[in-house]
């Protein structure tokens, strides 16, 4: 757990080390560069998986009635 936290903190500490200029962000703005978890379809997938796995999302609003079990 501590090792994982260290890796995370090291990654966070790297923030700001690299600077990409606005005119160099053409590739980053293309559709294939969106993170898959940001898509609208992902909300449904996350909610379905949440009813089966213990490590559920935690973002709230999902409810937990018997139908989901």
């Amino acid at each position: 757990m501590r090792a994982r936290l260290f890796i995370l903190i090291a990654l966070l500490a790297a923030a700001g080390c690299a600077t990409v200029k606005p005119w160099e962000k053409e590739v980053l703005s293309q559709p294939q560069m969106s993170f898959s978890h940001d898509g609208l379809d992902q909300h449904f997938i996350d909610h379905a998986v949440m009813t089966i796995e213990q490590a559920e999302g935690g973002a709230g609003g999902a409810g937990g009635g018997c139908g989901c079990r």
């Binding site: 757990m1 923030a15 379809d41 997938i45 998986v49 490590a55 018997c66 079990r69």
Partner: protein, 382 residues
């Protein structure tokens, strides 16, 4: 009446959208989702929403989801523990289960609707986005309300975005068989995240999330048989407190020919001794008119400290909840996104979900670990 309420909400959303669409300041989404599992659970889930630009700095998002759930799992009279016992045929539930609605217990199919309304405002203040939100999820036996506040801060010429979020969930659970008893659950959570552009073609994300839950966390419909005593099962009992933390990291790397690779990893741990690892790999290819994304996900967890397949004596906590067992899952997905012209775009996604475990399924409704098919078909107008 749920149907009238749904029509009313869709009408309001369409009217609001129409009023603002004339100013070119709105996005509308309509989506149909479906989950079909081998455990008898079928969920049809239409989803609709509008995002409105109220002014140059303020955005309002209103989203509504209906989960129409049907499940065979309430059909106890046809379950493995009941179907060969003449004294446990349809309608005889009250013989063994105090307070049981014999009609529901004997019905062929359980059905429920979940209504989910999600409201979110985004206010831009300089390089900071402030996003208060409210979510209400309602079933016939479960009401969940969430208030949340998220802040996003752009730094270093927008190469870094820090996010911090707080939320409180307040749940009320009123089992259909004991309508005079209401249980409550309060869940507080906080999250911290960073999205960092590393190069012209590399982005990473990292985050940590902490949640603390206090209150009723059992399934009020789950009963546990102790030893060979089949006539007086006892209700499932989970601890009323749980703290959980998860750490996540993601990488998006641009590749030649308008394609990209995504890697995600997530570690989860809670005070019920469950530890879980999730790894995901996705490949995205943009063909200009169509974006194709195959995706693979692997998940593994160990069991909660109080989970058992069979109980020989009463214990402080009792659970046969499959969610708390040791198991792994895999999911394969294929997503297609395309532009249709005149402001319209569409998305289709198919996912196949598989669970693997070594459990003895003799006392469960299903015979083997669940597999499921998930479908998403959506249209967006902007």
């Amino acid at each position: 009446m749920p149907l009238k309420r749904l029509i009313f909400r869709v009408f309001i959303a369409v009217m609001a959208f129409s009023a603002l669409e004339a100013q070119g300041a709105a996005v509308a989404v309509g989506q149909f989702n479906r989950y079909q599992g081998t455990d008898g659970v079928l969920v049809n889930s239409p989803y609709t929403g509008v995002d409105l630009d109220l002014d140059e700095r303020t955005k309002l998002a209103m989203h509504y989801t209906l989960d129409a759930v049907s499940a065979a799992s309430f059909n106890y009279s046809q379950g493995k523990t009941h179907r060969n016992d003449p004294s446990r045929q349809a309608g005889s539930c009250k013989t063994c289960h105090t307070g049981v609605d014999a009609i529901s217990g004997a019905s062929q199919m359980y059905q429920d609707n979940r209504h989910d309304v999600n409201l979110r405002v985004t206010r831009k203040i300089g390089e900071t986005d402030v996003r208060p939100g409210y979510i209400r999820s309602e079933e016939n036996d479960y009401v969940s309300q969430t208030i949340k506040l998220d802040l996003d801060q752009n730094l270093f010429s927008r190469n870094s975005t820090w996010s911090i979020g707080f939320r409180r969930l307040s749940d009320l659970i009123t089992p259909v068989w004991t309508k005079n008893i209401t249980h409550s659950l309060i869940t507080d959570g906080a999250s911290l995240g960073l999205t960092q552009i590393l190069t012209r073609g590399t982005v990473v994300k990292a985050g940590v999330d902490y949640t603390q839950a206090n209150g009723f966390q059992s399934n009020p419909y789950a009963w546990i048989q102790i030893g060979n005593q089949t006539s007086s099962p006892v209700p499932e009992r989970h601890p009323e407190e749980k703290q959980r933390v998860d750490l996540s990291a993601s990488l998006k790397q641009a590749l030649p020919w308008s394609s990209a690779l995504e890697l995600d990893y997530r570690y989860y741990q809670d005070t019920w001794d469950v530890k879980a690892h999730t790894a995901e790999v996705g490949l995205t290819k943009d063909f200009g008119w169509l974006v194709v994304e195959p995706f693979w996900r692997y998940y593994a967890q160990n069991q909660a400290y109080f989970f058992k397949n069979f109980y020989s004596v009463q214990e402080t906590y009792l659970s046969r909840d499959l969610k708390l067992a040791e198991f792994s899952t895999q999911m394969l997905s294929l997503s297609l996104r395309g532009e249709l012209g005149n402001g319209w775009s569409t998305q289709f996604r198919y996912s196949h979900f598989m669970r693997q475990d070594d459990l003895d399924y003799r006392r469960y409704f299903a015979d083997v670990a669940v597999t499921a098919d998930l479908f998403v078909l959506g249209f967006t107008y902007q």
